[in-house]
């Protein structure tokens, strides 16, 4: 059993991290904090998940969110997608394993992966609307959000959702408020089978190794950890029975990368654009130096009067 994080004391505790610990801030240039805090991670062991949705309800409760009562559309997934209120969602896949001939019911808890290289933050044009702390948590700062939806384009996992009520973007915060006082996220706390565990990223990788060994002993030869390098790893990781086929888990990205449009636009294009503006200015200046200021001569004045018929 993974060591259970004890409840906090009743007396107030100082937050362990805050604005001084930022390593990235959207549309702003900051000096990253010199010493990073230990990177945290949430590990979701799909092979231990019974799909009870306690995490979904705990998320609603802790974050004081209200989701609408929907309808059944022929599946167990409810709601049917992430919403501005549902920041985490169980997705169920019935998978017929072609090798063993067995049916597998793969249940994946979907939500923000807290990428080390966050596409949402890179795409965001609003200064300070998305921040990344030195422990790896990627958080949305509602007050700075302009509701443009670029974060959705930037996310390789299709996670953020824009509220129709206040036109702001929402997603899982990894319970940064709980983590700041030494607690794990609410979903982890509610999980009855320790399918969700939380700790430092190193601890989580070690724990995952043990789980993968167990899964391999049960015939899942491709069991493995999902910590995709395309986004420089994530702070929410999965243990998958079939790590060679992430896509069978309700479309989990096989090899997530930040969209090339975002990369181009916020990377090369951005600098090219800036360079073009700079070059234009430089040309003007050079022209001024070489050709001198463009003055109106007496001849010009007289010609103008003649043309005007005066």
């Amino acid at each position: 059993m993974f060591t259970i994080i004890p409840n906090p004391q009743a007396k107030p505790i100082d937050a362990k991290f805050g604005d001084k610990d930022l390593i990235r801030r959207s549309a702003s240039s900051i000096t990253p904090v010199a010493q990073r805090q230990p990177e945290v991670a949430k590990l979701i062991d799909v092979s231990k998940c019974i799909g009870c949705k306690a995490c979904q309800v705990a998320c609603l409760e802790w974050n004081n969110l209200t989701e609408e009562v929907g309808v059944n559309v022929g599946v167990y997934d409810n709601p049917h997608d992430l919403t501005p209120n549902t920041w985490t969602l169980m997705r169920y896949t019935e998978y017929e394993n072609p090798e063993s001939g067995n049916l597998e019911w793969l249940i994946r808890k979907d939500g923000c992966m807290h990428c080390e290289d966050p596409g949402c933050l890179k795409a965001c044009p609003a200064p300070g609307a998305i921040v990344q702390y030195s422990n790896g948590i990627v958080d949305f700062v509602k007050a700075n959000c302009i509701g443009c939806g670029y974060c959705i384009k930037g996310c390789p996992f299709n996670i953020p959702r824009i509220s129709k009520v206040d036109n702001k973007a929402y997603k899982c915060t990894l319970c940064s408020d709980r983590v700041a006082v030494g607690q794990g996220p609410a979903c982890q706390k509610a999980c009855p089978t320790q399918a969700i565990v939380f700790g430092t990223k190193d601890e989580m990788k070690k724990w995952a190794e043990k789980r993968i060994t167990d899964l391999k002993s049960r015939g899942f030869k491709n069991a493995g950890l999902y910590d995709p390098p395309g986004v420089q790893g994530t702070h929410v990781m999965y243990v998958l029975q079939h790590a060679d086929k992430p896509n069978i888990y309700a479309g989990l990205a096989d090899n997530p990368r930040i969209s090339p449009i975002v990369e181009l636009w916020k990377g090369g294009t951005k600098y090219a654009g800036l360079a073009l503006i700079g070059l234009t200015a430089a040309f003007g200046f050079l022209h001024h130096i070489v050709a001198g200021p463009n003055r109106v001569t007496d001849h010009d004045e007289q010609e103008a009067k003649r043309l005007a018929g005066k």
């Binding site: 059993m1 092979s47 231990k48 019974i50 799909g51 009870c52 949705k53 306690a54 979904q56 309800v57 609603l60 409760e61 209200t66 989701e67 609408e68 009562v69 929907g70 309808v71 059944n72 559309v73 022929g74 599946v75 167990y76 409810n78 709601p79 019935e94 017929e96 067995n102 049916l103 597998e104 019911w105 249940i107 009855p192 089978t193 320790q194 399918a195 043990k210 789980r211 167990d214 002993s217 049960r218």
Partner: protein, 807 residues
């Protein structure tokens, strides 16, 4: 549970069948995931549906609903034919060597003594052969044709893997893998736990399903052993508590019996329950029945219970019949019931054949609903169209709703499946004007008593005799009631030398202190010790595990005597040594029994004396052959009353031949021609029974009733995923969304394709979820022959696609 939730971690194989622990017991299920992750345990699941537990399993085998006995008998046959049994255990700790009387027989699915008219057995021939010394006759060589071993070998030989496949629809290879994994635990160092719930009990042959499992565990030597046992997962947080406290009509607290007609005196009741040992040197602990009974009566009637008046036995009602839930509602339906007090009970949702229940409630003069929430039952008279068709103008029943505090708003105790009594404190103030159940009942008692005192009336003495000695008679405290359950000394109790062992007024430390002369009281002998002289042990919250065997002896109090595994003497061999180092638990250290747990044994009896571990049986050993069962000493494959096929093993059997069926209910059983599809009901993890459909966040996670249908059946019927379907039985219909799934597959039964559908039960016409008719609109009104638990898990329906509702 014979074992406990935490003990599941000690298992090498976990077998879930007749239950869906991941779905219905998600928190307890963590011990399964722990056994898997920490011990490398293997999990196997046998169920009609590939359910959430199956999603976690290493091996899954499908089974047609209602055919568990055939499957399990197949496993028993496999163990016997392949000699995969724990020999030392079986030979010494079971009745395998006992001889059964001459004249016992079995033919065409019926045992000797069957009476077709009364639908019951005369069990005279099912008894053991007794010697002139009053003890049972045995054949240690197990070769005698009337030995239990030989009878069993013959009895189970018909359940070959081929027969299992033909009857249950479980493919032979999948069945055999289950049998092999079970058999792997016949060695002394490996154990298997069996976890079941209402998927086994809710059949007309439910008790025999469980008997089969118990027999398998005995053959494997897995009872009384860590990581073993036969573990009933209880459906509510305190359902173990309500059974212990004797709310079933035929039982009193602590599994003492209600007096019945023909037992006019205390002696006439007790002489039937002598429980004389039938082997030398056996404990036969029920010999103390008398002490527990008298102590109970002393608690009921206090000073009014004297030796002269049979300790008030005369005040006790004498049952003419067992008033189980089906009988109750049948009588109500006949118009023989005036009023019903429904305390924490929603029968319109939870009793079979909802139309009959609705009609029955309509015939009452009054209905009192004591509940923290508005139940569907309290509003049975409202017309909710197809979801609850009713004509209020025609219903005269007066309905009273008394809001009670919820379990979160009052102090008290819960007893979980592990038999562990745990105290709880209120987490919130009572809502609005709600009152505690205890307050309402006390008030009712005092008012009725006053009315009788003023006006007099027939049969008033029992009411007047009740001892109601509480600080505040209108509101007895949880602490007072807990102390009363435990019991105390009424005078100074002395030992043989006259030394005072327990002073008058002191709480008893154990039921061993109870006396039959009226000098002790105590409502609930099995709980004695939980609130002894050292305080309320239910409040203990020490999670230390000194033995390292996941035994948390200082957490709460497990009845009896804080024992975490029942019959744990069986974890050691005849000499008192553990069967293996891996399963070291309770052992003889040369002077005393001790170990990880409280020994289920007199701790000073040396192994040489030959006293056996199954101390509650007069045999001293466990029963592979069990005469007390109503429907046979050995399990027999019986089809459900509504079955898609005839009984393929015993063609003459229709349903359970001794199950009680009321007049008019037999007529509304459906046949396989009109209703070719098997249906089963179950709950969903997102909801708790019928309560949480009123809770917004639960409603979000499962908002609407649905029907689970295989892709094959959907194709055949033209049903689309998410489309509406109508499901009807011979008793009613429900409508819901179709969840078309690979997790259900058609069965091949004797060469014929049989479809099965799944129906979750959590939805109704009151609450936040979309309205639905009660699922019990469909279910048959028949129960188990031993326990009368209704057959909710296997019945016949038909299904068709319909147009969706106009939104």
């Amino acid at each position: 549970m014979t074992n406990s939730w935490t003990d599941i971690k000690n298992a090498d194989v976990v077998w879930i069948m007749g239950g869906n622990a991941a779905e219905a017991h998600p928190c307890g299920f963590k011990w399964v995931t722990e056994a898997k992750a920490e011990r490398g345990a293997r999990l196997m699941v046998v169920d009609p549906r590939f359910n959430r537990s199956a999603a976690m399993a290493d091996h899954y085998s499908p089974i047609r609903s209602g055919t568990d006995i055939a499957f399990l008998s197949g496993v028993i046959n496999y163990l016997l034919t392949n000699d995969k049994i724990q020999h030392d255990y079986v030979k010494n700790y079971t009745n395998v060597s006992f001889l059964v009387k001459e004249g016992f027989g079995f033919e065409d699915g019926l045992f000797t003594g069957y009476n077709e008219t009364s639908r019951s057995y005369d069990k005279a021939t099912w008894q053991y052969e007794m010697g002139p010394d009053g003890f049972v006759v045995k054949d240690e060589t197990l070769s005698h044709p009337r030995s239990v071993y030989q009878i069993m070998k013959k009895h189970f030989s018909i359940y070959t893997p081929e027969m299992v496949e033909r009857v249950t629809g479980s493919p032979k290879d999948k069945f055999l893998k289950v049998a092999e994994w079970a058999a792997s635990c016949s060695t002394k160092d490996r154990t298997m736990t069996i976890m079941y719930a209402l998927g086994w009990t809710q059949h007309s042959h439910g008790a025999q399903n469980i008997r089969c499992a118990a027999m398998i565990q005995l053959l494997l030597g897995n009872i009384g052993v860590p990581g073993g046992g036969i573990n009933a997962l209880r459906g509510h947080s305190n359902v173990q508590g309500i059974t212990d406290i004797g709310t079933l009509t035929a039982s009193l607290p602590g599994y003492l019996a209600m007096p019945i007609d023909g037992e006019p005196t205390l002696e006439s009741h007790l002489t039937k329950r002598q429980f004389k040992p039938i082997q030398a040197n056996q404990t036969s602990y029920w010999q103390n029945y008398r002490k527990f009974y008298v102590s109970f009566l002393k608690s009921m009637y206090g000073a009014k219970a004297t030796k002269e008046n049979d300790f008030g036995y005369q005040y006790m009602p004498k049952l003419d019949l067992a008033y189980d839930v089906l009988r109750m509602f049948d009588l109500m339906h006949q118009g023989k019931t005036s009023g019903l007090i429904c305390q924490g009970f929603n029968p319109l949702m939870s009793v079979s054949h909802a139309a009959k229940t609705r009609a029955a409630l309509s015939k009452l003069k009054f209905l009192v609903s004591m509940d923290p929430i508005e139940t569907d039952t309290a509003r049975f008279w409202e017309n909710h169209g197809e979801f609850n068709p009713s004509d209020p103008a025609k219903i005269q029943t007066e309905v009273f709703m008394l809001p009670v505090t919820s379990f979160l708003e009052e102090e008290g105790s819960f007893t979980n499946s592990s038999r562990c009594v745990m105290w709880k404190w209120p987490a919130a103030d009572p809502y609005a004007e709600s009152r505690k159940d205890v307050e309402i009942l006390s008030d009712l008692f005092i008012r009725i008593k006053k009315l009788y005192e003023k006006d007099g009336g027939k049969g008033v003495e029992p009411l007047m005799a009740v001892d109601w000695n509480y600080k505040n008679p209108h509101d007895p405290s949880a602490d007072e009631l807990a102390k009363e359950l435990n019991g105390k000394a009424l005078v100074d109790l002395t030992d043989a030398e006259g030394k005072v062992t327990r002073a008058a007024g002191q709480q008893l430390a154990s039921f061993g202190e109870m006396r039959d002369d009226g000098t002790t009281d105590g409502v609930q002998w099995i709980y004695t010790g939980f609130y002894g002289p050292n305080g309320n042990f239910a409040q203990r919250r020490d999670n230390s595990d000194p033995s390292g065997m996941n035994v948390f002896g200082s957490w709460g109090f497990s009845w009896p005597a804080n024992r975490r595994i029942l019959y744990n003497r069986a974890s050691a061999d005849m000499q008192g040594k553990p069967w293996s180092d891996a399963k070291k638990y309770v052992l003889w250290d040369g002077k005393r029994w001790g170990g990880a747990d409280v020994p289920d044994f007199v701790p000073t009896i040396p192994p040489e004396r030959g006293t056996m571990p199954f101390i509650m049986n007069p045999e001293g050993v466990s029963r592979l052959f069990a005469a007390p069962m109503a429907d046979g000493p050995l399990p027999v494959h019986m089809e459900p009353f509504e079955s898609p096929v005839a009984n393929l093993v015993f063609p003459k059997l229709k349903g359970n031949p001794v199950a009680r069926v009321f007049k008019n209910d037999m007529e509304v059983f459906g046949n396989a021609k009109d209703f070719p599809i098997v249906a089963t009901t179950y709950r969903l993890v997102e909801h708790f029974h019928f309560w949480t459909k009123g809770v917004q966040k639960n409603a979000v996670t499962q908002p609407e009733f649905f029907v689970e249908i295989s892709e094959e059946l959907a194709r055949e019927k033209g049903i689309k995923k998410g489309g509406m379907v109508r499901v009807w039985s011979n008793r009613g219909e429900v409508k819901g969304k179709a969840v078309v799934t690979k997790r259900l597959k058609p069965f091949q039964i004797d060469g014929k394709t049989v479809h099965q559908i799944g129906l979750p039960l959590n939805f109704g016409f009151i609450g936040e979820t979309k309205k639905a008719a009660p699922i019990n609109s469909l279910t048959p009104f028949v129960g188990d022959a031993n326990a009368q638990t209704p057959e909710f898990k296997a019945f016949l329906v038909n299904v068709e696609p319909i147009a969706g509702p106009v939104a």
